[in-house]
Amino acid sequence: MGSSVSRLLRGPAVLYLPAALFLLVFFLVPLFNVAWMSFTEPDTGFGNYTAFFASSFDVGVLLNTFKTAAIVTLISLIFAYPVAYVAARYGGALGSILLLVVTLSFWTSFLVRTYAWMVILGVKGPITAALIMLGWSPPPQILFTTFASTFAMTHLLMPFMILTLYAVMRRIDGTYMRAAAGLGARPLKAFTSIYLPLSLPGIANGSVLVFITCLGFYVTPVLLGSPRDKMIAGRIGDEIEQMLNFGGASAMAIVLLVATLGLFALYSRFFGLDKLWR
């Protein structure tokens, strides 16, 4: 080992090493393996990719996945922002209770919460009962619709958004807003020109987190949505478990990865990815 390495081993960079090794072994190597399979199984070449893009069904599933993730991200943001704002800005008992409620939901698994929505949104559930009581007859079907799966995914992912926003908002100095008010800005003006820009890193962070997590959703759309709500993770699972088509499934996974990275490149171009780490 050269002296540069031994110097490095005493420096703070060595702290990266365990994580880097872990990621190399458990992330990069398998990822490389997946990429490799997509070009070599069952035949060498681009066959799996041409098959994917020739199938309007598969491309449709991919587009639907991105569309769903975008919608879920947007709705979570709209609902999460006020919650995080209240918790961060007013703190105290209300803030603690809000955060406690948000954190509590992490104690129950995604699957259990998905099943809970099946009960709540079902024909014998409280929502339908309430609609009937209000004179809505026959009541609309809620379960097994795109609405139900989008709604449940938003619920499952909103805590991530709230906590990320809260982490950023807590660091925003409250005196800025008082200063703005002191200088005569109305509350809305003060919010849009001071608070909102300062909370942008939280918005960027939370959106990216929710968006990516949503791309991998699998069971929730199957259990709550209509058959049209197929997401790409479900397709990848089917190809492997039912068809034993490792090459095709790998190609889908790589397309998903590349499309996601491509989207981030665009995002970075227009909004600046550096906001994520600021």
């Binding site: 880097a20 097994f144 991998g216 699998y218």
Partner: protein, 367 residues
């Protein structure tokens, strides 16, 4: 599902590239290789003459009854310890033959999977010295799978919606004019397509090769009335119990729980589409001798009877009924009275069409 749903949360590429560029490449690779070697014990390198056998199970109630009826007695008689790996994964079976690292030696496969596994050379032919197909009942071994137990895809419906006699056949199930109400079927091509053909009037003995155009035309007719396509066993039970759907095609094993709970439902055995679970041994496993001894044991009348009864499966070995009280036997798919009105799916006959109908069904259902 939780794991897969929340994976990809971080952005790991970032961290790795930062560290990798700062450490010299060679030392980095050497350390990484060592790390990879150390992390491997989670996957077992097989050793030939171990007194142990790894069985891939469905977990839960399935594993519990298998333990009681099959695993524990087998260990007692042979001294071979059985360790279980759950849940059943077809993909894992393929992966382990490909890599030569065996996580399990024995698994169960359904009709559609057996054909595929045999074609892809994932499973081994019986070792005749241990399990001789000629010494079992006729038709016991198909495509190297040993028939174990069967479950019926039966029709069940809510009594208040369809008073007696209610739905009698799949044609009735399809007849939404005469029997208005919501329907539900499994999201599984291998069972739904035969059902669709039966509903369209195809005679059971003319089912194969399946006329797929006719099947999908038949499916088009019922599609608007299918409220949901179920995908998990317990889900089908919940849908019928809660009245979410009025009539459903589901497994006899699941609907039996509702019958026992005195739910207001009727189960019709007529035209049940019967699926069979086959024991299969992973090709190339060094513990194949233990594996075949176990499979041979598991299909013997007495242990098989015990196992089947626990979960309401139908034993495939006819001798097993000698060990099952008649009132219980009547609820099982392979009981002669039930069996004679059933259609048994045949892996060899389904195999040539399997890729085509699976793909077509996936696209059809999402359209």
């Amino acid at each position: 599902m939780t794991k897969s749903d929340i994976s990809g949360v971080c952005s790991p590429e970032q961290a790795v590239s930062t560290a990798a560029t700062k450490v010299s490449r060679r030392s980095f690779l050497a350390t990484a290789a060592a790390g990879a070697a150390l992390s491997m014990p989670a996957v077992r390198r097989a050793v030939a003459d171990e007194k142990v056998l790894y069985v891939n199970t469905w977990g839960g109630a399935w594993e519990e009854s298998a333990k009681e009826a099959l695993f524990t007695p087998f260990t007692r008689d042979t001294g071979i310890e059985i360790r279980t790996v759950a849940p059943v994964s077809f993909a894992k079976l393929a992966a382990q033959v490909r890599t030569g690292v065996y996580e399990f030696d024995v698994t169960t496969l359904g009709v559609a999977e057996l054909g595929r596994a045999n074609q892809a050379k994932l499973i081994a032919a019986p070792e005749k010295s241990i399990l001789d197909p000629a010494k079992l009942w006729p038709g016991a071994v198909v495509l190297d799978g040993v028939a174990s137990h069967a479950f019926g895809n039966v029709m069940a419906f809510r009594n208040e919606k369809f008073p007696a006699p209610g739905l009698q056949s799949w044609a009735d199930f399809w007849d939404v004019q005469k029997f208005p109400g919501s329907r539900c079927l499994q999201r599984y091509a291998g069972r739904v397509i035969p059902i669709a053909l039966l509903a369209d009037g195809v005679a059971p003995d003319k089912l194969f090769p399946m006329d797929l155009d006719r099947a999908f035309k038949s499916l088009d007719r019922i599609k608007p009335y299918i409220r949901v396509w179920w995908s998990q066993g317990p889900q089908s039970q919940q849908l019928l119990r809660d009245g979410e759907v009025d009539a459903i095609g589901m497994w006899n094993t699941q609907v039996q729980r509702l019958v026992e709970a005195k739910a207001p439902i009727t189960v019709s055995w007529n035209q049940a589409v019967v699926d069979v679970a086959y024991w299969a041994v992973a090709r190339g496993t060094p513990r194949s001798e233990n594996a075949w001894r176990f499979v041979n044991y598991a299909v013997q009348p007495e242990p098989l009877a015990k196992f089947s009864v626990k979960n309401d499966y139908g034993p495939m070995n006819p001798e097993a009924f000698k060990f099952i009280p008649e009132d219980k036997a009547k609820q099982l798919p392979t009981w002669p009275e039930n069996f004679k009105n059933s259609i048994v799916l045949d892996p060899a006959k389904m195999l040539p069409q399997i890729d085509e109908f699976s793909k077509r069904f996936d696209q059809w259902i999402a359209s």
